[in-house]
């Protein structure tokens, strides 16, 4: 805590006001400041120096960084102006592209003629270690009986929930501002929170809140009633809207009218009961409505909202979960958590959590398979799409499930958890844990069905009846899919997850923490199930017949000869992992790990293309690629943390190696899928001419961080 001398402070205030020191006011301010220096060091063999994060291609020229060293400086100031009024402000120099090698923004050597983005000059704020006001707020505690606290300004909005208004993710923390009022009644058994949060532009249809955006806002409130420790209930409500000028109102003399571009309402009821002792109950039900003006996503606008976090027509739907936590089941040491859940395909909450939240009990898929553009077939370094992001290794760990069309993995590092949209998921998860002596066992079984299982999105024509954003068009399948669109025009999918984990502390030295795990995922999707719909599913390939635009060998077999099993997708994942962690010294802890990941995938025959994708579906473009076959990756890694009297250091170093062995299928004369024995070096598919030989893959990557908090 730093209490500045009153004269110093007065001088600062005076300087700000351009007047002589006024000690009387400033002296009352109890100013405190603290901060940190955060440094990040990246290294990898992808040799990408676009940014200091592993990024998608959303932020121009910041994709796929795996190289560089950079510094972030963060300073927070708070102070009490009076007993009732406090202020908070945070400034930060952000990493982005502020590499040490940039000379603090004095341009990258040898690139004077490069584009603005590539030259990384001092004029580019992402490169020049600029200081940004990350957030400022005023906190008021007036002492009214009905109001505990009011906060005006920046916040991370973590007081609501991931299903309605989620906490702002790390990179945007303190970027969103608004009004927050919180209070209590009935001897604190009833608590309430109400907020008006200015809408971020990315939240709207087509990732925009339109031309008139500055007053768009989300209104969210909740009432929490907890009359006893045994049970509580929460009623939560949200209203988000995007208002625009009325194009019909051309008269400025009496002001301009407004219309609604889109609006979204959610109401939820949550409850907990822990009065039974042996089992705790927790559940919630949410219902959403969403309306959007017809003009927003017409065919001439925003690519008909293909890239959008929101549907392009009105929807309403519900979502629920019920958790049962058996704290002791039959024998000592055995506990069981059960979750039943059902998230409607049309459930919409525009400001729900984008990441750093996990709404489901299941650990879901493995992060290592979530990077959708591994580019195994060709490995073309100059392909910007396949060159972006994480590469072969994907993300470490498991996935986080979010109920959002904005599942966001931009500006992440590989050691973070990847976020995955689970809109439309329904099923059950069982997680037993058992402790036996020095052993600790846990497991999972999940059965997952999908409310998004439909043909032509529930209609007859995918181009007419699909109102859902398809983003890259590769769908959240896992391996080869994306993470942010849970919608596919044709889907008949089910998934099962089985996992076992064992931990044991070996009594050597200070104890070696051993862990072993196995996980199996069966993910099957029959996609088109009616032969009458095959033509609709696989038509629409662009520029067909134009040899200058498209290789005719790549055009999908429209109709697949009536073979409805030819586009079936079957993915079987096996994961084996072992690790050993040890406290090497009182300051240094390190974990060594080995993982083996395998996928056995059939993604249709060589006549099947990603539904609804055109030239972007070609491997050469980078969004999708041919992945049928056996893929194996081994990971050897080390994590470590070190603490020395105010200095913290940590890091992850990974090395991956493995191979992709392509397999090809076609349809026989009876309309059945059969294995194809390639005659040449390549096989023509709608994704390109795919080499038949096995591909060896490897990747090295490192992230080390350093923090000094003062």
């Amino acid at each position: 805590m730093k209490n500045l001398h009153r004269v110093t402070l007065a001088a600062m205030v005076a300087a700000a006001l351009g007047s002589a020191p006024q000690v009387s006011n400033a002296a009352d301010v109890d100013l405190k400041w603290w901060g940190d220096i955060y440094m990040k060091f990246l290294d990898g063999n992808r040799q990408q120096n676009f940014s200091m994060s592993n990024n998608f291609d959303v932020t121009p020229n910041e994709s796929g960084g795996d190289q560089g060293q950079a510094t972030e400086f963060d300073l927070t100031l708070t102070g009490h102006v009076s007993k009732q009024v406090e202020f908070y402000a945070r400034i930060q120099s952000r990493l982005h592209r502020g590499f040490w090698a940039n000379y603090a923004g004095y341009a990258v050597p040898g690139k004077p003629n490069q584009s603005f983005e590539q030259a990384c000059t001092e004029a580019d704020p992402r490169c020049n270690q600029y200081i940004k006001l990350r957030g400022a707020r005023v906190i008021i505690t007036p002492g009214y009986d009905w109001l505990d606290s009011a906060s005006i300004g920046a916040n991370d909005w973590g007081m609501f929930d991931a299903w309605t208004h989620g906490k702002t993710r790390y990179i945007d923390r303190d970027n969103l501002s608004g009004f927050l009022f919180q209070g209590s009644a009935l001897d604190k058994t009833l608590r309430w929170d109400f907020a008006r949060v200015s809408s971020p532009a990315y939240q709207g249809a087509g990732f925009t809140t339109g031309d008139l955006y500055t007053n768009d806002a989300d209104y969210v409130g909740q009432l929490k009633y907890a009359p006893s420790a045994a049970w509580n209930a929460t009623l939560i409500g949200l209203y988000a809207s995007d208002r625009e000028r009325d194009p019909e109102d051309t008269n400025n003399l009496n002001g301009v009218g407004e219309i609604t571009r889109w609006e979204n309402s959610v109401v939820g009821l949550k409850g907990q009961y822990s009065g039974l002792g042996f089992v705790d109950l927790k559940g919630a039900y949410y219902y959403s409505t969403y309306n959007i003006a017809n003009s927003v996503c017409d065919s001439n606008s925003l690519e008909s909202c293909r890239f959008s976090p929101l549907p392009k027509e009105d929807t309403d739907d519900g979502a629920f979960y019920l958790n049962l936590d058996f704290n002791r089941l039959f024998v000592d040491g055995l506990s069981l958590a059960v979750q039943v859940f059902d998230i409607g395909s049309d459930y919409v909450s525009a400001p729900s959590a984008r990441r750093e939240a996990d709404v489901l009990l299941t650990e879901g898929q493995e992060g290592t398979w979530q990077w959708m553009r591994p580019d195994y077939n060709f490995g073309v370094r100059t392909n910007p799409n396949s060159n972006a992001g994480l590469g072969y290794g994907g993300w470490d760990g498991e996935v986080q499930q979010v109920v959002s069309g904005l599942a966001d993995n931009d500006v992440t590092d590989f050691d973070e958890t990847v976020a995955f949209s689970v809109i439309g998921w329904k099923g059950v998860t069982l997680v037993p844990k058992y402790q036996l002596g020095d052993w600790e066992f846990s497991g999972e079984y999940s059965y997952i069905d999908f409310n998004t299982n439909w043909q032509a999105c529930g209609g007859q024509d995918k181009d007419v009846d699909c109102i859902y954003p398809r983003m890259e068009g590769t769908h959240a399948w896992g391996y080869g899919g994306d993470t942010r669109s849970p919608y596919a025009p044709y889907q008949d999918r089910q998934m099962e997850i089985f996992a076992l984990k064992a931990k044991y502390t070996l009594d050597v030295g200070s104890g070696i923490n051993l862990m072993a795990r196995y996980k199996y995922i069966s993910d099957e999707d029959d996609r088109v199930t009616k032969s009458s719909l095959l033509t609709d599913a696989y038509d629409g390939y662009p520029n067909f017949g134009d040899p200058g635009q498209i290789n005719p060998d790549w055009v999908p077999n429209i109709g697949l000869g009536g073979c409805v099993t030819c586009d079936d997708r079957e993915a079987y994942y096996d994961t084996y992992g072992i690790s050993a962690g040890y406290q090497l010294t009182s300051d240094l802890y390190a974990t060594l790990l080995y993982e083996l990941h395998e996928v056995d995938l059939v993604d249709g025959t060589v006549d099947v293309a990603p539904v609804g994708m055109g030239f972007e579906g070609a491997n050469a473009y980078g969004y999708a690629e041919y992945l049928t076959g056996d893929t194996t990756k081994n990971r050897v890694g080390m994590n470590f943390t070190y603490f020395l009297s105010g200095l913290q250091v940590g890091g992850t170093i990974d090395y991956f190696w493995g191979d992709y062995d392509p397999v090809f299928y076609t349809n026989d004369v009876d309309g059945r899928r059969v294995k194809l024995s390639p005659a040449g070096d390549t096989v023509a598919t709608p994704l390109g001419n795919i080499p038949v030989s096995s591909v060896d893959l490897s990747q090295y990557r490192m992230k080390v961080w350093l923090k000094v908090v003062f």
């Binding site: 955060y38 991370d156 402790q435 603490f643």
Partner: protein
């Protein structure tokens, strides 16, 4: 590829397999103490922070027990709500995955257990871990402390740094300077002190609402007894110490205690504008009496430098004995109580203004020693503190 395995029967198989495994390791429950539910608001004034991963009940201690198992002594703490996992969470500073630094399956709380093994009033330490904002009631002055915290190795280092500074300051006060040899001796002394007095569990298991942790018998010296006193304190864990100044800076150790501040924010316990700012950051204590917790945590005097003194619980129900070895009489206990509340003055002696003069406080101190109500070590320490104010 023809591996369309269905795992629909797996739940049953798993359950059956687990049921077949009987618990090979025997466990004897040494004692179990229940704490009232719904009291996770400290002195009654604390409000849960603005976070989606901290909600009422999360830090509500409802049971504290100890078990002797084949593999040693295990303490078990049970909360009112399932314990939050750090998996998938990232830090405020940088985007470090929290489970990389909080490796034991929890990250939102600290639980301190101060154990009074001799049950002699005033014999032992009364200080709590830095940053907790309370002391331990002298009737439960402790000999051993167990600090369950998400970053045990870091916490241990921080505590050693704290003692390094304490001992160095003491040395400087005596000698006016320190030498390289002095500093080496100080480091050795603080390391020894932390090793002798504190244990930071690393063998930790979390399952729904329970967290259990192993403590080696050689640290405690014996199997936990019902005759010992146990003072248990639950605080929020500020895993990066970003909530308020305090931080990792050696000069301001808070040992990752989430602080208290007016209003509701994300990194600290909130209080209303009409609540005293020095309200301790302790969320729950082990206290069988439903009403006692608020009184204990609200009983402090920042002008006199007196922190709230948290009492423990003795499973056998016995009270501490005086330094003389005799049980405290009701009168003595009342005098001690009054003395501690008034910053050292005994009941019935001069009015407040005079009570706080140095001579008056020394007289009171002499009287307490003569009565056998404090130990010689306590006397020496308190006398030094009073004289240091001159």
């Amino acid at each position: 590829m023809q591996r369309r395995v269905k795992f629909s029967c797996l739940p049953g198989l798993v359950a059956a397999a687990l049921l077949l495994v009987t618990r090979a390791a025997g466990a004897e429950v040494l004692f179990s103490i229940e704490d009232p539910k719904g009291d996770d608001d400290g002195s009654g004034a604390l409000l849960y922070p603005n976070r989606d991963d901290l909600e009422p009940g999360d830090l509500d201690l409802v049971r504290f027990s100890a078990e002797e198992r084949d593999d040693g002594v295990w303490f078990v703490v049970e909360m009112a709500q399932p314990i939050r996992s750090p998996v998938g969470r990232v830090t405020q500073i940088g985007q470090t995955a929290i489970d990389r630094i909080a490796r034991n399956g929890f990250y939102t709380f600290n639980v301190d257990i101060y154990i009074d093994t001799d049950r002699t009033s005033g014999a032992g330490e009364t200080g709590a871990v830095p940053g907790r904002g309370v002391t331990i009631d002298r009737d439960f002055a402790w000999e051993k402390a167990i600090v369950l915290t998400p970053r045990p190795d870091t916490a241990r280092t921080m505590l050693q740094i704290y003692y390094d500074q304490e001992y160095e300051a003491e040395l400087k006060a005596n000698k006016g300077r320190t030498s390289k040899e002095d500093l080496a001796a100080v480091e050795g002394r603080s390391e020894q002190h932390v090793s002798d007095r504190y244990f930071f569990p690393t063998k930790v298991r979390v399952a729904t609402r329970r967290i259990e942790f192993q403590v080696p018998p050689e640290f405690l010296g014996d199997v936990p007894s019902k005759a010992w006193g146990y003072t248990v304190i639950v605080t929020g864990c500020d895993i990066e110490e970003t909530g308020r100044p305090g931080l990792f800076s050696p000069s301001r150790q808070t040992m990752m205690t989430m602080p208290v501040a007016r209003g509701l924010q994300s990194s600290q316990w909130g209080i209303r504008g009409d609540v005293d700012e020095a309200t301790p950051p302790v969320v729950d204590i082990l206290e069988t009496d439903q009403d006692a917790q608020a009184k204990v945590l609200d009983d402090y005097d920042m002008v006199a430098g007196r922190l709230a003194a948290v009492p423990g619980v003795a499973p056998d129900g016995n009270v501490a004995v005086a330094a003389s070895g005799k049980p405290l009489t009701t009168d003595q206990a009342a005098r001690m109580d009054q003395a501690s509340r008034s910053g050292g003055a005994a009941a019935g002696t001069p009015p407040a203004a005079e009570r706080r003069t140095v001579p008056a406080r020394l007289r009171t101190l002499n009287q307490l020693l003569e009565d056998g109500l404090i130990t010689q070590a306590e006397y020496n320490e308190l006398r030094r503190k009073i004289l240091a104010e001159l």
